[in-house]
């Protein structure tokens, strides 16, 4: 009940924010909302299943390219919808191939996928179309973009809440705990894994499509591995095994990145790396795990879901 109230209050505030604050704070909120969407979408797949995906940047970039290529021909928000669908299809293909791989193989494969897409696109743009990047003509109004991304964030968080309560969500946790046992218990592990991966990719691609008009000019560097890593770090800092964890991590690090990235780029990235190391060593279940430890002193180490 308290969580529902807090959620309703947060939503009301987020709807009101662009009407009262300056464009700078609106754009800051927008960037953080996009981070929250990516992180929540990453965490509802990778959190319970423990499949460490580094493909976030690939889906985000592909979505952004959909807007860049088709944005001027389709009325808003159709590019976002199309990107979501395209991301899901891309994830279905990749997932069917890659989700047989476990552990670091999967992570390396997804990372390689993002780089492969980027370099193929660079090669294609320079040698076939003869350009380096694309201009986004006639972008939608800033307020339209804001509410599009807010809608995506709300959808992603709702999906994450519903997943946790459903049989599908339990199946995901079962896969993370012991995949063979889950299969023996009658879970169609391939369908559950690939389906959830596609759903998560749909959100990532849609977020990319909705954020693309902010840049007006787009080149293949939008397939930035930093997006993938930042998402993982945000989720892990917050705690990938809970609903609130990824949101908290994304807000916290999203603020830090928006404030520090432009002024102290290298220092920020260095601090990001150190944060990741500290989280892995000292906070294996993130800030959410830390909070839980303070709330009810558990007997030994019992967490609802041990994340990655």
């Amino acid at each position: 009940m308290a969580a529902r109230l807090a959620g309703a209050f947060a939503l009301a505030a987020l709807i009101a924010i662009p009407q009262v604050v300056t464009p700078y704070y609106r754009s800051l909120t927008l960037a953080i909302l996009a981070d929250v969407t990516l992180t929540v979408a990453w965490a509802f797949f990778s959190g319970p299943t423990r499949y460490l995906s580094l493909a976030t940047g690939a889906f985000f970039g592909a979505g952004a390219y959909v807007t860049a290529v088709a944005g001027s021909r389709l009325p808003w928000p159709l590019p976002v919808v199309a990107a979501g669908g395209g991301g899901a299809v891309m994830a279905l293909v990749v997932g069917a191939l890659a989700l047989r791989l476990r552990g670091p193989y999967f992570a390396v494969f997804t990372f390689g996928l993002a780089e492969l897409t980027k370099h193929t696109l660079i090669w294609y743009e320079t040698s076939v179309t003869g350009t380096v990047g694309r201009l986004i003509l006639a972008p939608p109004a800033p307020l339209v973009l804001y509410y599009t991304v807010l809608a995506l964030t709300v959808l992603a968080v709702t999906t994450s809440v519903l997943l946790r309560r459903s049989r599908w969500g339990y199946a995901l946790v079962g896969i993370g705990a012991d995949e063979e046992r889950a299969a023996t218990l009658g879970i169609d592990t391939t369908r559950v894994k690939v389906g959830t991966f596609a759903l998560s990719a749909a959100f990532m691609a849609a977020a990319g499509a909705a954020m693309a008009p902010r840049w007006t000019y787009l080149d293949p560097q939008v397939f930035n591995p930093l997006v993938s890593f930042q998402t993982v770090i945000m989720a892990l800092v917050g705690g990938a095994g809970t609903v609130i964890g990824p949101i908290a991590g994304a807000v916290f690090l999203g603020l830090a990145s928006e404030i520090l990235l432009l002024k102290f780029r290298y220092v920020y990235m260095l601090a990001l790396g150190l944060t990741l190391i500290v989280v892995v060593l000292a906070l294996p279940s993130g800030l959410a795990g830390l909070a839980a430890r303070f709330q009810r002193r558990p007997s030994a180490r019992q967490e609802p879901i041990t994340p990655l």
């Binding site: 047989r100 791989l101 552990g103 670091p104 996928l113 780089e115 892990l236 290298y266």
Partner: protein, 291 residues
Amino acid sequence: MKLTLLVDIVGAGLMTGGIYALVALGLNLQYGLMRVLNVAHGEFLMIGAYLTYSLHTAWGVHPLLTLLITGPAAFVAGLVLHRLLYARVVAESESREALESRSLLLSFGLLFVLQNTALLLWSADLKGYSYLSTPFHVLGTVFPANRLVAACVALGLSVGFYLVLQRNLMGKAVRALMQEPEGAQLVGINISRLHGLCFGIGIAMSAVTGSLVSMLFELTPFMGLPYTVTALVVVILGGLGNVMGSLLGGLLLGLVETASVYLVASDIRIIASYAVLSLILVLKPSGLFGR
């Protein structure tokens, strides 16, 4: 195909391959032994390259002599990193999967730290120096002498290391640990000491490769990741934990890449290596020479 072109491709391919083999060997040593996939491996290569650059340009140390500094320095750094980070993760992780994903994240953190430290220290501008860029004639074609020297040193170190593993007692212990970790423990091999040692050697190999690479190409703080990817391709090609596989895989990849650059186009190289990586992961994750 003309003979000179063939000599060109094979010669250049083997030279590139020798460098690849040495980086890959270092990475494989870490993974095969500890199940730690160190994606920051190439960053140590980058740091090694910059150290050689600084030592050479600031104090005039001969580039080849800097190997005697970068190697041991990286070895010590590896020991310290192992003690501070990886030994703790190895001890705390309850399953092999947990260990693999946590150590992977650790090394990603390390990648960010090293790359941005280099950016702060040396800036993002291209750096370089010229060493032995005199032509060297072999069988009707010309190679720059520095490439020949770098490749010979790299190949010598790789083969030397392989022989050490085959011949002496420590090498036997390492191989035993790769093949059967629990059995190795049972016969009294001190795992944690060996882990630290091999982690250090692996990183030293990467840094030494960096010193060699600095003689050939210009340096940027971003040069590490492509080498990590190449090393990964080689390690996966040759099989995780398979030392001979890495050696052969490195040479093979060097040949294939050089051939594709000569015969197709140069910008296809990086696409080719990612494509090979993805294909092998999907089709045969145990590697070409894996069982």
